[in-house]
Subunit: 319 residues, 2 copies
């Protein structure tokens, strides 16, 4: 058995971190370890926390971790940084913020960036969550920023998606544009000591009332919090846990896990098949090469060229 996997299962953060890095880097030791860890997954509760920059997500998460620790729950935190196309790296911000939990054996913080060849943030986040799950972290908090395609996929990974707003949000058409209303299952109005907090709660409740997509049996609650002053966090955590209970009792929790696994499988197949085709000049054949040249000469538009290329590519099991 892989040493790293065995050590991670016994709780070694160092071994867990190594495995996560291998998975990010597409080092074969990563998938080897994941195979061994996988039977131990499926137990963790994954809480996604999202919201606009400046809403105070990191401070709130820091306090949420404290609340969960007082309940003796082991907590993993996955902080998503938008990848920089140049540095490719996560910055230190989240690690700095989370430092007061650094000495706590029951907390594991990991910053992510898009890495590796096999797809983006959603894949690495998913696999990191699996590793933390196997290591016995009972709640995994995933922090995302913004509402890009990556974030929507990560929202699908979470069992509960909590959206953090701030007072004044309701006035701004950006709030509606952001599309975050639709994905939230629990809402927090953070910085609730600022003017307009109650109005924002009212506006949110109003907008949520109009939302046609509320799952039957669950009405998203709106909680006032002030993370800096340590206020409202217990109510917020309770609201998330209530949603978990709802999912579990309605059978939706299991559904979500299975849908997520299948989605990840298909995405990986897509990427790997793509690489097979373009990996060697011969794989795609003469026609593919010619078409790529034609695209480069602007003789043909990319979509028409792709349609022609795919007609010529045979895909299926070996005869």
């Amino acid at each position: 058995m892989s040493d790293y996997a065995a050590q991670a299962l016994r709780g070694s953060k160092l071994a867990g971190a190594k495995l996560i890095r291998f998975l990010e880097d597409d080092d074969p030791r990563g998938v080897e370890g994941l195979k061994l860890l996988f039977p131990h997954t499926g137990r963790a509760y994954i809480l996604g926390i999202t919201g606009p920059a400046g809403a105070g997500k990191s401070t709130l998460i820091d306090r949420v971790v404290s609340v969960l620790r007082t309940r003796k729950l082991k907590v993993g935190v996955i902080a998503i940084d938008p990848s920089s196309p140049f540095s490719g790296g996560a910055v230190l911000g989240d690690r700095i913020r989370m430092q007061r939990h650094a000495g706590d054996e029951g907390v594991f913080v990991r910053s992510m960036a898009t890495r590796g060849r096999l797809g983006g943030l959603a894949r690495t986040t998913n696999e990191t969550a699996l590793v933390l799950d196997a290591m016995g972290y009972e709640v995994i908090v995933v922090e995302t920023v913004g509402v890009g395609q990556d974030e929507l996929e990560i929202a699908e990974l979470a069992h509960t998606t909590a959206v953090i707003c701030v007072p004044g949000l309701g006035d701004d058409i950006q709030a509606i544009k952001a599309g975050i209303l639709e994905i939230g299952e629990v809402f927090a109005v953070n910085k609730a000591d600022q003017a307009g907090a109650d109005e924002t709660v009212t506006q949110l409740l109003g907008m949520l009332g109009m939302r046609g997509h509320t799952e039957r049996g669950w009405r998203p609650p709106v909680i006032k919090t002030c993370a800096m002053k340590d206020e409202g966090l217990v109510a917020f955590v309770d609201a998330c846990m209530a949603h978990r209970k709802y999912l579990s009792e309605s059978g939706r929790l299991k559904q979500r896990v299975l849908a997520r696994d299948l989605h990840l499988f298909k995405e990986l197949v897509k990427q790997m098949v793509y690489e097979k085709i373009f990996a060697t000049p011969s794989a795609g054949g003469e026609e593919l090469r010619t078409l790529m040249e034609d695209v480069q000469l602007r003789k043909i538009d990319p979509r028409s060229a792709a349609e022609q290329a795919v007609r010529g590519i045979h895909c299926g099991t070996m005869p």
Copy 2:
């Protein structure tokens, strides 16, 4: 010749909008039209404008359009809305904002959302830009929000990426996290009538000085603007045009167009091959079906399953 394409080439906005819709919806009339339009593309200058929510991008773009119109340039605007996973639609915000240009024959505004089966926002934005280009729009302004993977791909589509900041940004670690510094070729500090504008300019210049990625021969300028008061917009447009000149004279403009077309081609091939594999149960073969079932039963982790599946799939030209 497709009626829509012919009419679009003669400048019909209605026909252009139809073609864009067909491309979004993967209606075959879209790609048919694109094929006819493609020889007429490659002339437009594509200006990407990005920055955090609340930076005043939409107002700034509205004013930029006015400046470009006084220069007798035809302008297309593509406003990206983060897609809502539920509504799938763009909201009206940008259209409302841009209404004062609505009666101007030389301005075409289009709001986008992720649509269609063939990939996300980057693909539809790219193809929409091609349609506008063929229709004779000389400058195409692409507005994005946030810095997700989609936005980075859209930044690659643009010839110049302008980043809109606001005073106070420099104090915030979010600014660095956001990763937008690396992609900017022109910077605007908007709302420059607010306190701290000069400090923000200084901080930005300092951070840009540290940035190791400045292309040789181009130093990103930082322009103070106040879009609401119509100040600084001429200088901003001039800075963008100077970057265009730099790209064109250094040969980088052509490079970017070609790299973009090839990237789009490969992405489309990836998506189409994927669909071929999963479209019919027989395409992927018995093994693929079994693996999908095993994933659903959580007998195997998604990555190991994908690796096994791809080993069994033959991809290449028909013998």
